[in-house]
């Protein structure tokens, strides 16, 4: 199948492209940018006039809930939702049931993804067996079957000795370690940011130090072990300062933040709004603005959806008893474009944070559109608004904190490996 994508505004930050260019795709690969290769005849022409054409989005942290929690969501349902937001690759966290700590579970996920034949799944293998924070997994075997990194999901890695050894071993296997930083002792039974609103509502708080202490520990151990560490879902201004200093000293550490934390702050949990019960918790407005600044400054490189679909019962409970997380995957692009519209981010920085930068962390071949790269492409209409309605979501998880929000962009086409997997037509 050959496509010509004409008249679109091509944004490809990896190649410093930001202008009207035609894009030519054949047999799964990009074959021409700006001009068609000799003798090229398209099977299908897409007129992208007035639209943005960019690499397919790479989402560094999602939960697909399969295997084990199919009552919340399935690989099929969530990949449908992903491609509707122009996402072409998702990194799924290993906290499935059973845990993705052995090749059999990785193989199962791989097979389900093949059956579905939509979005790429880039699995993160468990860093420790059962995510128990004690025994290392067979990282090399997991890598050979296709896991692109290791992660302990949101589970406790509180034993610094185990963390040190895990970093060393992963480094030997040439695997990037994705670390979620939250000190379990300081978190305690906390469910919201520790601050004035949590105090008023009587909800146990998670202090910012639960994250910053854990970040500083991760940075020190990354420095000692030489492991490649990616800090997953950073929320605090204090963490940004620590990461910036480490990077200034030459530590090759990367970081991402979740889309909810770029739009919402801790005041959203007022009236015990369980849709805003997240882990990590929503932080202060100061933190939110610092995260946006860190994305512009390059201290934080990527924006992920931190997609956590839930069944309705999971949120229909008193706040502390409700399950944390938000269903965000299908609104990722629109929510980021809202930040562009509000001038927190430039279009190029925003696209880079969704494509080239996260791809560089997990699979550098993706997230860019130079010739001979896989043709993962997202085309969206930057002027066509879209209003979020919980009831008509594609994801099986209807738990969005953004119900009723108007988003300033709508995806019109998604291509993966040169195949059209989503179109609004």
């Amino acid at each position: 199948m050959k496509f010509s994508i004409r008249n679109g505004h091509l944004v490809d930050p990896a190649n410093q492209v930001d202008g009207v260019r035609d894009l030519y795709v054949a047999d799964g690969y990009v074959v021409g940018v700006g001009k068609a290769p000799d003798g090229f005849t398209a099977d299908r022409e897409i007129d992208a006039g007035g639209q943005v054409v960019c690499p397919g989005l790479v989402d560094l942290s999602v939960r697909l809930r399969e295997p084990g929690q199919e009552h919340k969501a399935t690989i099929a349902s969530e990949l449908d939702a992903a491609v509707s937001s122009g996402i072409t690759s998702v990194c799924c966290q290993p906290d499935t049931k059973p845990v993705l700590d052995n090749p059999a579970v990785a193989e199962l996920i791989h097979q389900r993804a093949l059956n579905n034949d939509l979005c790429r799944i880039l699995p993160l293998a468990a860093l420790t067996q059962g995510l128990a924070g004690q025994t290392l997994t067979d990282m090399n075997a997991l890598k050979e079957i296709g896991c692109i990194g290791v992660s302990n999901a949101n589970a406790d890695m509180n034993n610094a000795e185990v963390l040190r050894r895990a970093l060393e071993y992963a480094s030997s296997c040439n695997l990037t370690v994705h670390l979620f930083c939250e000190d379990p002792c300081l978190k305690n039974d906390g469910v919201v940011h520790e601050g004035a609103l949590g105090t008023r509502l009587g909800l146990p708080g998670i202090p910012a130090t639960a994250e910053t202490l854990s970040v500083s520990r991760a940075l020190l151990l990354a420095c000692q072990t030489g492991a490649r560490v990616h800090l997953s879902r950073i929320t605090c201004a204090g963490s940004i300062d620590l990461i910036a200093r480490a990077r200034d000293h030459g530590l090759p550490v990367s970081a991402d933040t979740g889309i909810c934390h770029l739009h919402l702050n801790d005041t959203e949990v007022d009236n015990f709004n369980t849709q805003c019960h997240l882990d990590p918790p929503l932080r202060t407005e100061t933190d939110r603005l610092a995260l946006l600044q860190a994305l512009s400054d390059g201290v934080i490189q990527a924006i992920c959806s931190d997609h956590q679909p839930h069944d309705n019962d999971a949120k229909a409970a008193p706040f502390s008893l409700s399950e944390p997380g938000a269903s965000t995957i299908e609104h990722l692009l629109g929510l980021v474009m809202k930040l562009v519209r509000e001038e927190y981010l430039t279009l190029v920085d925003a696209i880079a944070a969704l494509t080239h930068h996260p791809a560089a962390i997990v699979m550098p071949d993706l997230g860019r559109l130079d010739v001979d790269r896989p043709a993962d492409v997202c085309i969206f209409h930057p002027g066509k608004t879209f209003t979020i309605d919980r009831r008509s979501m594609i994801s099986a998880g209807k738990n969005t904190p953004f119900d009723g929000w108007e988003l300033p962009a709508t995806v019109t086409h998604t291509l993966i490996d040169g195949r059209l997997v989503y179109t609004v037509d």
Binding site: T199, L203, A316, P318, F319
Partner: protein
Amino acid sequence: MTHANIQLDENGHLKHFLSIYGLDRGLLLSILDHARSFAGVGDRAVKKVPLLRGKTIVNLFFEPSTRTRTTFELAAKRLSADVLNINISTSATKKGESLFDTLQTLEAMHCDMFVVRHANSGAAHFIAGKVAPHISVINGGDGRHSHPTQAMLDMFTIQQHKPDFTRLKVAIVGDILHSRVARSEIHALATLGAEEIRVIGPKTLIPTDIEAMGPRVFHNLEQGLEDVDVVIMLRLQNERMCSALLPSEHEYFHLYGLTEKKLANARADAIVMHPGPINRGIEIDSSVADGRQSVILQQVSHGIAVRMAVMAMTMGSLADTPTLESRDEV
């Protein structure tokens, strides 16, 4: 984002009583006024008025509490309502039945009001958001969040002794961090216009940013009690002891236990309150608890009148807006 206040109906009447926060001064004063009217009922030959005859009130207690449940039960019975007590241990709900299922079962029994006590903050709000429109919900204490009837009975007790809230300095002493009573009292005192609210305790028991709710924070009891008109001592749960929060009962009593000597720092006519049950010798000395300035037993008897007032007001809110004529002539 603004939410309509779930506690009020479209006419601004009290529909649910979930937290002091969100209610205005007029409404709090009206609760106190009604409580005064109901206070006499307990002194009569027949300790009942027929106001809620035919109504069914369910005491839905997910957390054990004999005291609070008893006063709610007595209040409901004095209003001639039928009372059903249901104690659901949280372990039972964990075994499968969700809170939502429990509610639906009870609604099917045609109940009119739930009095809810639950170990998790926000449980009463959650239930109020789920019940059928004709049902009122009263919060009998949820987690660390709110215990509004306790706060109002304390305000009633204060008002009996010190009618003008705007001239009062009130100190709340002890475990503010875990206390729903303290949070509700702070809101009530602030709404009623208290001149100064203080919280006194070690840093481990004072929640972050409590100042945003209005009070001044003291870590020294003697200093914090200076010139206050009302001292509210909080109960210290045993499980707080010998943990990272507090080293020992002995040290706590030494620093924060209320003795006659420390009480001398307060105004000479200051009253001493405690929501009960009292830990004598831990947060308060017996000579103070039983002393001349103590109003602790009055608090208990006021609890019934205040709860009658709140039950009558919330059930009454379901009525149509009354016209002057229909009120004046029967």
